[in-house]
């Protein structure tokens, strides 16, 4: 059940340029890929949300990029330091009835789809993960294909025609996500998109993180999402 965890850091290591992996002890019993946690940073008013990139026996893992003061605070955490976070939050990816999944992670957007890949593989669901990074130094391991410098969208039509997925999962900058959603519509393949929005409460009460759907409703990224069906999102970009 989601709650506020007061726990300990297990490990916090640099894995690529400006990129870190943090492992945290917890007594959480179950996490879905696509769910996230929200970390208290002592120098900040608001907690910082991060996708869960791995889970095993209570140990939660995230991959994060150093951005500003919040992530700077987190990079300074050492093994055995206290850490406080809300988890697990959000809906997560839906894998029901999926048989052949294409996973796309742009940049640090790899985090939730890496976790999803593991889940799908364990369930013996066919999957293919393509990711993209700005440079070799920023590359994170674990994909079936990695594009350096270019965009994950570069040969996306060919890739889809080759793999013929029945579901596309994606996370990354919203401009990429919109294009993936459009691509899905074009190919008549459903897309599940993990969205990002600045959050205050991260538990669905403040309505600070809403996005609009095409049906006219507002949905919170933190509670109704972060995963939405790409073809239902009213893209504003």
């Amino acid at each position: 059940m989601k709650r506020n965890h007061k726990s300990k850091v297990i490990n916090n290591i640099k894995i690529a340029k400006g990129t870190y992996k943090l492992s945290i002890q917890s007594d959480i019993e179950k996490v879905k890929a696509g769910q996230f946690l929200s970390i208290l940073c002592n120098n900040k008013t608001l907690r910082r949300p991060f996708s869960i990139s791995g889970y095993e026996n209570g140990i939660i893992e995230i991959l994060y990029k150093l951005k500003g003061e919040g992530t700077e605070f987190i990079t300074n955490l050492k093994p055995d330091d206290d850490i406080e976070f809300l988890a697990p939050l959000g809906n997560g990816f839906d894998v029901k009835n999926v048989q052949n999944a294409l996973l796309i992670g742009a940049g640090i957007g790899i985090a939730p789809v890496l976790f999803l890949k593991k889940v799908l593989s364990e369930k013996n669901i066919k999957n293919y993960l393509i990711t993209g990074f700005k440079s070799e130094q920023e590359k994170i391991e674990g994909s079936d294909k990695t594009i350096i410098g270019g965009s994950v969208l570069d040969n996306i039509d060919e890739l889809i025609n080759e793999i013929k997925p029945d579901m596309i999962y994606s996370c990354g900058p919203s401009i990429v996500l919109k294009k993936i959603s459009d691509t899905g519509i074009k190919h008549k393949i459903k897309t599940q998109i993990a969205m990002e929005k600045v959050m205050a409460c991260s538990i669905g009460v403040c309505r600070g993180c809403t996005i609009e759907l095409k049906d006219g409703t507002n949905k919170t990224v933190c509670k109704d999402g972060p995963v939405f069906m790409g073809d239902e999102i009213l893209w504003r970009i």
Binding site: L86, C201, I203, C206, G208, C209
Partner: protein, 305 residues
């Protein structure tokens, strides 16, 4: 446990520490994170006569650990859905609450208050200070004559506990407080958010990306303004005053009590620490016992000597 109860002009709270409107939803989500029974009362997100979609675009801007700016734009489910879906839950779970209400016109407010009366809602807080909605509503919040008129019209249709919540974005909060009192309010709460603008510049080789969030400023940075205004209001009205603004610790609560606040609300800090109200309430209890003040009332007396 010490006696922490407060009698606000007839409205009884088990503790003086409430949660502020817009920062605690309709209480439902917070059950996972804190013990609701420790909270004096929760104030709901503002309810309007019709559902509202709120503002498009970025709604939240953080200003370091000083506070935040929001422009939710009063998104809410509307009073009908509140009454049919949320009210039964609140009553069933026995949660003490105050319904915060907002509107664009006098009629909106009056109609909402009527529905509150019909549904036996024990207390309402009238938000006349929402700084992030363009249409009209800030007017009531800054013009004493309109505010007295609004308050007295609500008073006519609503017999239970009526709180008027004031905005700090005025040169004369004392006049507004007196208007609310003259209009028949049972209690005043202050302050709502200050007007603020958050600017973030991302300067990259490809150009400058700008984020602007114009809305209501809340959190630690507004505490001195809130203390100032609450003290001024206490000097001009006889009805009780609930202090709001930048409270995040027991020390903050004691400061508001020392300047005369009868109770307090915690807003932004709920986002940082969802169990803050429970935590401070426990600390307040321990503080009173440790210092032999016996009860909250006795502590207030000592603080005001």
């Amino acid at each position: 446990m010490a006696d922490l109860s407060v009698n606000l002009n007839g409205f009884k709270l088990k503790t003086p520490i409430m949660t502020a409107s817009g920062t605690f939803g309709y209480a439902d989500e917070f059950e996972d994170f804190t013990d609701m029974s420790k909270i004096g009362a929760i104030v709901t997100k503002a309810i309007s006569i019709e559902p509202k979609k709120g503002n498009a675009g970025d709604r939240i801007f953080e200003y370091k650990n000083y506070g935040m700016i929001n422009r939710i734009g009063l998104e809410n489910i509307g009073i009908k859905e509140f009454v049919s879906k949320k009210l039964p839950l609140l009553k069933q779970k026995n949660i003490d609450f105050v319904m915060n209400l907002a509107g664009n016109t006098v009629e909106d407010y009056v109609n909402c208050a009527k529905i509150a009366e019909e549904n036996d809602i024990k207390a309402i807080e009238v938000n006349v200070s929402c700084p992030n909605v363009k249409s009209g509503c800030l007017e009531f919040g800054t013009d004493p004559v309109s505010l007295e008129n609004l308050t007295s019209k609500i008073r006519k249709v609503y017999k239970n506990f009526l709180i008027v919540k004031l905005t700090p974005n005025t040169s004369n909060i004392e006049a507004l407080a007196k208007s609310a009192e003259n209009g028949g309010a049972d209690c005043i709460s202050a302050i709502n958010t200050l007007r603020g603008l958050g600017v973030k510049l991302d300067i990259t080789p490809f150009g400058i990306k700008k984020t602007f969030v114009r809305g209501g400023l809340s959190g630690k940075c507004i505490k001195p303004v809130a203390l100032y205004m609450v003290q001024n209001i206490k000097q001009v009205v006889k009805i009780p005053v609930i202090g709001i603004g930048g409270i995040s610790s027991l020390e903050d609560v004691l400061e508001f009590l020392a300047i005369g606040a009868d109770a307090v609300q915690i807003g932004t800090e709920n986002f940082t620490n969802p169990d803050i109200t429970e935590k401070i309430t426990t600390e307040l209890d321990e503080f009173i016992i440790k210092n032999n003040f016996e009860s909250l009332d006795k502590l207030k007396e000592e603080l005001r000597k």
